[in-house]
């Protein structure tokens, strides 16, 4: 009894700090999601060019100014947010779900299944993730489906590795041995014993994964193999605005700031594990 009281007392300040950073992270993320969801509805067409108003300064007719073709930066950022967040979330799910399932299967079955999956994972891990996406993207530059595939193929390995390692530890523990002796099957063991252990770890990994996917797609745009103009994307907006950095430095910083905010939000959300 008193042990419990002690644990609760000693864990409290840290847990509370962790909760407040999480709230901050969630608030920023929510704001970005709202921007992605509703921004495009309110703002004007991101492709409309106002050629008399090129590189208009911030705070005038256009809230965040215009780019070199006189397009509203605010509208383009909103559309890009939709693309980046949507793309990153989908790519992440496409990586996390099979990665986790395969990880648990490998840990559960051991033997040649585990070895085969691990070797496959190691092979993919041996290539830097960006390089892998780059190779795939080079076959069909600008094709969003290829980018999606590339990011997922690079990302699933992390989920596989982490799920496999955490699940293996749980599966070897007395609690699982006891559950097996008590007649419980795999579904129960995964639900009651494995999932509660690996989900928090994987959630952290997922938050970092979304950030990684957004940076990857922006990086690819930056080196001209990613999303093609005129589709607005944070990475290619930086590329487009970079030549005008001298005249309008804040303009190029706006998309960079969006990426920065998103990464900060995800890190705040994931970085502080209360346990």
């Amino acid at each position: 009894m008193s042990d419990m009281v002690l644990d609760a007392a000693s864990a409290m300040p840290r847990a509370r700090r962790a909760v407040s950073t999480r709230i901050a992270g969630a608030a920023i993320l929510l704001a970005l999601v709202a921007f992605a969801a509703f921004g495009p509805l309110l703002a004007i067409d991101p492709a409309r060019q106002d050629l008399r108003n090129m590189l208009a300064p911030m705070g005038g007719e256009y809230l965040l100014g215009t780019d070199h073709l006189g397009r509203s930066i605010l509208a383009r950022l909103a559309h890009a947010a939709r693309l980046s967040l949507g793309f990153a979330t989908l790519a992440l799910l496409a990586a996390a779900i099979p990665g986790t399932l395969l990880g648990v299967i490998a840990a559960w079955s051991g033997g040649w299944i585990d070895r085969a999956l691990s070797i496959l994972a190691d092979m993919i891990l041996a290539l830097p993730g960006l390089l892998l996406v780059l190779v795939l993207a080079a076959f069909a530059p600008g094709d969003i489906r290829v980018l999606f595939m590339g990011v997922s193929v690079a990302l699933w390995v992390e989920f596989f590795r982490v799920a496999r390692a955490s699940a293996a530890g749980v599966l070897a523990s007395p609690e699982v041995e006891a559950a097996r002796l008590l007649g419980f099957g795999p579904a129960h063991i995964v639900r009651r014993h494995v999932a509660p252990r690996i989900v928090p770890v994987l959630a952290t990994l997922a938050a970092f994964g979304v950030g990684g996917a957004v940076v990857t797609i922006s990086t690819l745009s930056f080196i001209h193999v990613g999303v093609r103009p005129p589709t607005p994307e944070w990475g290619n907006m930086i590329v487009e605005l970079l030549p005008y950095f001298e005249e309008a430095p804040a303009h190029a910083l706006a998309p960079a700031g969006c990426i920065f905010l998103l990464l900060i939000a995800l890190n705040l959300l994931a970085g502080q594990d209360p346990r």
Partner: protein, 464 residues
């Protein structure tokens, strides 16, 4: 060099936990705190050490020689660690650095805490370890290559290295078998001649062996204290009497199994172990319905392996295991560390409900079983980590009894419990053995416990 604790209280957000404890110890007069888990004995040590968990605060006086510890700022208290106060942690083989050889771990203390030159530190460490009977061969091994007793002596040498004259030993016999326990008692007693030793334990035999003063704690209060022999031989407080009577050597003898009882599990010509090291070979063992068979022996002799082989959790290297014809779920196991055998995130109600659903057991059968095992229904909504080890072990027993087992392998099932709780759990288990005709294989490192409860007793030894 003496330690004086006067009117020490510890309070947390929910109120006082330790109520006005006054005790003293000095070189040659060690102090031993005994009591059940949660009685507050570890908090007293934490208050002396200055490691109370956040949110708890101590009042009263704790004097180490001329220094008043409680009023010192935290940094100054940390400065005393190693130099004047040292802690011998629980299960020291877990707190030694697994990537460092034993000798350097002691050298490190001399080098970093006492600022000695490497050569001097090496000489000092060798001397300290040799005094504890650890020669060059032992000190050049890694912790995992040392026996529990040797690892403990390395840890003791490390506590001595920086010159601490107050040694706090936290459950020093936890996880040690009898022979190692006696060895540890000798080592600690020798140390107590030169330093002030404060030991926290629920091991009555250790308290007796250490001598000095014994203080019995219950619910945050010292209920009885005095010279060890006096307190333990003629206990005055009711709790102390229960504690002393809980020693297995004082239990009533076991009932023999009813004649003609069927054999539930038998092993013939069993051998287990790896090629290089045979744990045991050509072992015959039978467990019949309604009897307890004990297996004991030192750590690492293959006790658990034998039980797992009988349960079918692993295949023996040679020999055959025959189990009576019945559903596999009627062969069950109780674990040494109860919290490790439950899913930590599910309440006990969920755990039992899952089991009832899986095996179509009506919930109506669970309530009387819990009552029989003296488990309050209020505990059902707690998580496994939120109840005591004794309660959780009784839940583990309830869980397996729901499946109407024929055979139960109790793997050190009471070794982490304090004596009173151990007796409680064992009595309930024995009652089930008689009532249901359950066959039990009890694995324990405590010979006294094995003798007290078993009709037959198998001793395993470590083969060379």
């Amino acid at each position: 060099m003496s330690l004086l604790i006067e009117d020490l209280s510890v309070a947390g957000p929910q109120g006082r936990i330790i109520h006005g404890v006054s005790l003293s110890a000095a070189p040659g007069a060690p102090l031993t705190l005994i009591g059940e888990t949660g009685s507050g004995k570890s908090l007293v040590a934490a208050a002396v050490m200055g490691t109370l968990p956040a949110g708890l605060s101590a009042t009263g006086r704790v004097r180490l020689e001329e220094t008043e510890l409680l009023t010192l700022p935290p940094a100054a208290r940390r400065g005393l660690w190693g130099r004047r106060i040292a802690l011998l942690p629980q299960e020291p083989w877990l707190s030694l650095d697994p990537t460092m050889k034993a000798g350097p771990q002691v050298e490190e203390v001399l080098g970093l805490v006492r600022d000695e030159a490497p050569a001097a530190a090496r000489r000092g460490a060798t001397r300290l370890l040799a005094a504890l009977g650890l020669g060059a061969q032992a000190t050049s091994r890694y912790p995992f290559q040392l026996s529990g007793g040797m690892a403990q002596r390395v840890a003791i040498a490390a506590t001595q290295a920086a010159g601490a004259t107050l040694l706090l030993a936290d459950e020093p016999t936890k996880g040690l078998d009898e022979a190692l326990r006696d060895e540890l008692a000798d080592t600690l007693r020798a140390r107590a001649a030169a330093a002030t030793v404060l030991t926290i334990t629920h091991d009555i035999a250790l308290a007796r062996a250490l001598g000095g003063t014994v203080a019995v704690m219950l619910e945050g209060r010292v209920v009885e204290s005095g010279p060890a022999a006096e307190v333990l031989d003629t206990p005055r407080h009711a709790y102390t009497r229960r504690l002393v009577a809980a020693d297995p050597s004082r239990w009533p003898p076991a009932d023999p199994a009813p004649p003609g009882a069927a054999t539930v599990v038998s092993g013939r010509g069993l051998a287990c172990g790896f090629r290089a090291r045979r744990l045991f070979s050509d072992l015959h063992i039978d467990v019949r319905a309604g009897e307890i068979v004990a297996v004991s022996g030192p750590s690492g002799c293959g006790k658990t392996t034998l039980g797992n082989a009988l349960l079918g959790l692993m295949r023996p290297a040679a020999g055959t295991v025959a189990r009576s014809e019945a559903a596999p779920t009627r062969f069950q196991k109780l674990y040494q560390d109860p919290p490790a055998a439950f899913a930590p995130h599910a309440t006990l109600r969920t755990a039992l409900a899952d089991l009832a659903r899986r095996h179509d057991v009506p919930w109506a059968r669970i309530a009387p079983l819990l009552a029989r095992l003296r488990l309050s229904p209020a505990l059902l909504d707690r998580l496994p980590g939120q109840i005591s080890g004794g309660e959780l072990q009784r839940f583990a027993l309830a869980r397996v009894l729901l499946l109407d087992p024929l055979f139960l392998f109790a793997d050190e099932a009471t070794s982490r419990l304090d004596p009173v709780t151990q007796q409680e759990v064992m009595e309930l288990l024995r009652a089930q053995v008689t009532e249901r005709g359950l066959g039990v294989l009890l694995v324990t490192h405590e010979t006294a416990l094995a003798k007290a409860v078993a009709v037959r007793h198998v001793m395993l030894g470590v083969e060379p």
